[in-house]
């Protein structure tokens, strides 16, 4: 069980999927010979041939449209959107088509496609290489949304997404591709080497969609997070000196509400962190659910620590990013109000 970075784990998952199922085909911009701008598909064309792994035109709408058709034919397309910021030209095919094909045809056709897209900030990518659009898609009935936070989950969740017969958006926290990141951008970069979650099992395994993970058990306050923010939340709790329970949602839709509610019923406090803009982000849904189901247990208002309601500004990335300091401050305020 060698340690793997998240990008290696994703590459490994794709490798396993290609070997396991003839129907899996991978395409997207620069994913073929080159192996993808983040190297997620490195060597895969070489290994499985051009008919299994190939480049696509710069046309996200076309890529998803073709994937829907390939899925209807009987293939199991795994497509890459180079940055989540570039998913919007494909919105119609995702929302009007992929999400509703099974429903509108009463099960005659379905859409077993996986849409991989690096998301989130932290690489000085500015407004068009940093976005977190998961909230938008979580509103759409018929789409599943998955976001891993560790190499081993990335592999298991990606394999589960590919196995799934419904369309899955698989957003990959690009800031975690090569190492864990706790939000301290000034600290030296660390790699996944030696990290416990970088132990990635060989071969095929899945992490079931719809099950959250308690990333850190605790008693004082529940923090709901996913992707990069799981690591940031853990660091923030430590810095606030709180025994926080950090829940890594892993799947936004379908959501593991049981794990969430149990935790909040226990701690009586709930903070939600995400990098996406605040208004109508997925944190809103989480807050709405938690207040509804844990109302009488809550000792303080649920807080959201998120990206601001602005585009992601290149030079102010770290002022925008909901880093450990901001989270810790909010956590402290929450429990003080006790």
């Amino acid at each position: 069980m060698p340690g793997m970075s998240m990008i290696e784990a994703i590459n490994d998952a794709l490798d396993v999927a290609l070997a396991r199922r003839r129907e899996v085909v991978i395409f997207g911009q620069d994913v073929g010979f080159f192996g993808g701008v983040f190297r997620a598909t490195e060597n895969l064309q070489h290994r499985y041939g051009k008919s299994r792994v190939f480049d696509a035109p710069i046309s996200e709408g076309g890529i998803v449209g073709a994937a829907v058709g390939l899925g209807a034919y009987g293939k199991r397309p795994v497509i890459e959107i180079q940055f989540a910021d570039y998913i919007y030209p494909a919105t119609d095919q995702l929302i009007s088509e992929a999400a509703r094909l099974r429903y509108r045809s009463a099960g005659e056709w379905w859409c077993p496609i996986t849409v991989r897209a690096p998301y989130g900030g932290g690489i000085y990518g500015g407004q068009t290489h940093s976005q977190s659009p998961e909230g938008i898609f979580s509103h759409v009935a018929g789409l599943k949304t998955v976001i891993p936070s560790t190499p081993s989950d990335a592999k298991g969740l990606l394999l589960a997404a590919i196995e799934d017969d419904d369309p899955v958006l698989f957003f990959e926290p690009k800031r975690l591709y090569n190492g864990p990141f706790d939000g301290h951008h000034d600290s030296p970069v660390t790699t996944w080497t030696g990290h416990p979650d970088a132990e990635v099992a060989e071969g095929f395994y899945t992490v079931p969609l719809g099950s959250a993970r308690i990333a850190r058990p605790g008693q004082d306050v529940t923090i709901l997070a996913y992707g990069t923010m799981v690591h940031v939340a853990i660091a923030a709790a430590a810095e606030a000196g709180l025994d926080a329970e950090v829940i890594d949602l892993r799947t936004l839709v379908p959501l593991d509400t049981g794990t969430i509610f149990n935790s909040v019923l226990k701690t009586g406090h709930c903070a939600i962190v995400h990098e996406a803009t605040r208004t109508s982000g997925f944190g809103a849904e989480l807050a709405a659910l938690v207040q509804r189901h844990c109302f009488y247990a809550l000792e303080a208002p649920i807080e959201r620590i998120t990206g601001w309601d602005t585009p992601y500004p290149h030079a102010f990335e770290w002022e925008y990013f909901p880093g450990p300091a901001r989270i810790a401050e909010t956590l402290r305020r929450m429990v003080e109000s006790r």
Binding site: P57, S59, G62, A66, G74, A106, G107, T257
Partner: protein
């Protein structure tokens, strides 16, 4: 056709609006039989002219001419005629039912039957169709039971789509008829994807897609042409140019400056323009394209030049935006009538047989209608179980939808 001065924006306008005399003088009608029929492995660059001309086989008297004559057997011809007539009879009845309040909505394909029927019968039954809402003729050409179509229109208890779709948004996997979307154009890139899948598997089946001339302005049209060209997908890309998109004439879709068939040239796809009211021309063009696709020569674009005789849908009143006599003056005639004449001329058909067939088809539709109505109609009688509305959002109902179904009291 040059624009005016830059001092104002050019806004295309049909030659005539209601109150005026229909004017089809702009239409350039080539002589039937005059277009050449190239071999299927021809390079796109050598047949660009076919995207600007008009392939015609039948003249208006019903005689067939030239290399594109598909030389169909009497039975094939009568089958085609019958499917077009049944399509028309079906449309007539369903629109009447809609007017009686039995369906919430309906869309006819009157005048465009050949574009669906001939383009289907020239394919194999196993080929996959990605239609718009105006190709009910595909299902009929494939002998799909019209009572099943009616059940869908009525959203009744026998509706296989469980009341989820508006009328005429059929789906039949068995008939190779892809689930109709409401969002224009999306089926086009999907068809190319399906065809890519077939090519990957060495499957002999090909895909055929239809789009209205108005919807060619959507991104999916461009995606489909690009992907089909790049990957040489075995797909036929039909453009149904029926001159109108609801109230908007084809000039607003770009018809003033070029043909729709010519859209294919920019990505090097062989592109044909055919008389869409000429059953034989549509059949022949489709056969040619299917032959190309099946032999591994990739996609073909076919513009069928036709005319939308009726309103856009049951919600539309075309007399508000075009002269009401326009349909009857359309110079390319009626596809049913033209194929009938051809059969008559060839001595394969009589007026009496024609009358009998109409009566028979009307009766067939009436019987099917009665059967369908026994299963209910949207606002009267049985529907599917409302609890089923929570199914098929996902393959398995996830917990939050189970809760919601509960909340809904089902």
């Amino acid at each position: 056709m040059m624009a005016g001065k830059a001092q104002d924006l050019h806004i295309p306008e049909p030659s005539i609006r209601p109150g005026g005399e229909p004017d089809f003088s702009r239409i350039d009608l080539s002589r039937p039989g005059s277009a050449r029929r190239p071999p299927v492995d021809i390079d796109a660059a050598e047949i660009r002219d076919l995207a600007f001309g008009l392939i015609r086989v039948l003249d208006l008297d019903g005689d067939a001419f030239g290399e594109w004559d598909p030389q169909l057997s009497p039975e094939q011809l009568r089958n085609g005629l019958r499917a077009m007539m049944l399509t028309r009879a079906y449309d007539e009845r369903m629109m009447r039912m809609q007017r009686q309040g039995k369906a919430s909505f309906y869309m006819k394909s009157t005048g465009e039957e050949a574009v669906a029927v001939a383009a289907t019968l020239a394919l194999r039954k196993s080929d996959m169709c990605f239609p718009t809402y105006r190709q009910q003729g595909i299902l009929i050409a494939r002998d799909w039971p019209i009572v099943d179509m009616m059940n869908q229109v009525y959203s009744n208890s026998a509706d296989r789509l469980k009341g989820r779709q508006m009328p005429v948004f059929y789906s039949s996997r068995e008939a190779g008829f892809f689930s109709i979307s409401g969002n224009l154009g999306t089926q086009y890139s999907q068809a190319v994807g399906w065809a890519m899948g077939a090519a990957l598997d060495g499957d002999e089946r090909i895909a055929s897609a239809w789009i209205g001339e108005g919807a060619t302005a959507e991104g999916d049209f461009h995606y489909a042409l690009t992907f089909a060209s790049v990957y040489q997908a075995p797909v036929i890309l039909n453009i149904v140019n029926n001159q109108w998109a609801i109230s908007t004439f084809a000039g607003i879709a770009g018809a003033e400056r070029s043909t729709f068939a010519s859209r294919g040239l920019g990505v090097g796809i062989p592109s044909l323009r055919v008389d869409g009211n000429d059953y034989l021309a549509v059949y022949a063009a489709t056969s040619w394209a299917a032959g190309r696709a099946r032999a591994g020569h990739g996609p073909t674009v076919i513009e069928s030049f036709t005319y939308r005789v009726e309103g856009h849908s049951s919600s539309d009143d075309p007399s508000r935006y075009r002269p009401s006599q326009e349909p009857s003056e359309w110079p390319l005639g009626d596809p049913v009538d033209r194929l009938k004449r051809h059969l008559l001329r060839a001595g394969l058909w009589t007026e009496a047989e024609h009358e009998t067939l109409w009566a028979e088809l009307d009766e067939q539709v009436r019987q099917a209608g009665k059967e369908a109505e026994r299963h209910g109609m949207l606002k009267h009688g049985a529907r599917s179980d409302p609890a089923s509305m929570f199914e098929d959002v996902f393959r398995e109902i996830p917990p939050h939808l189970l809760e919601q179904r509960n909340e809904a009291g089902f």
